[in-house]
């Protein structure tokens, strides 16, 4: 089964991203495909490459990158939600003449249409809300 995922909660203050990560691992282990995880609302903060988790806690960023690489999952970040929150990649840094960028290269900055496309091309859609 093809499953599309949306993550709406921030990586640290909400359980959403961690629950989504565990769900994706379980889905992949059970033989399902997760083509795309779409980060929207405060979920876009998950893509920040400069978060520093406490030493005795897992790194959600590293876990996402590892899972995406192993299972061929596209990590997609909504551009409108990201820019408003200071989540910026190199292209957007150049476009808006900003002093820094912070998006991990494993994450693609995409339009909201990619969320609809992911839902349209999957068998199931699961949202992990804030």
């Amino acid at each position: 089964m093809n499953i599309a995922i949306a993550v709406h909660g921030a990586p640290y203050s909400s359980q959403a991203a961690l629950s989504a990560l565990r769900f994706c691992r379980a889905a992949v282990a059970a033989g399902h495909q997760v083509a795309r995880v779409f980060f929207y609302h405060d979920g876009v903060h998950t893509a920040s490459a400069i978060s520093v988790p406490p030493q005795d806690e897992p790194s959600p960023l590293a876990d996402w990158v590892e899972l995406a690489d192993a299972a061929g999952i596209e990590l997609a970040v909504c551009i409108a939600a990201a820019l408003k929150r200071g989540i910026v990649n190199g292209d957007e840094q150049d476009r808006y003449d900003l002093t820094a960028s912070n998006v991990h290269p494993a994450f693609a900055i995409v339009g909201l249409g990619q969320l609809i496309e992911a839902i349209g091309s999957s068998d199931r859609f699961v949202t992990f809300a804030a």
Partner: protein, 120 residues
Amino acid sequence: METKRLLFLLRQPPYGSSHALEALESALVAGVFDQRVSVLFSGDGVWQLLAGQDGPAIQRRSIAKIVRALPQYDVTALYACAEALATRGLGAGDLSLPVAIVTRDEQRALLAEQDAVVND
């Protein structure tokens, strides 16, 4: 892309967080992408329908304006939970556009006929 029946379930109040705004924006995009879109306002989400909103007074876009734009994006199947309206003292006359006011049973049937439900 396959055309699917998508229901956006909006349960958050219009102001106080960005939830309502960003959820409505995703519903508008779904309309642009030719999906069969329904929107169900439930819980505190029914406040998004209230007439006479003034978002700019608190440096925010008016959510009512975005709600009223939905039909221009071919999102015309708009529903509000009857119980949520009643418990908040709201009636059809308080709303900024006409919506179908639906009971719990009608909502169950509505949800059952969707391909996917998009939460806010």
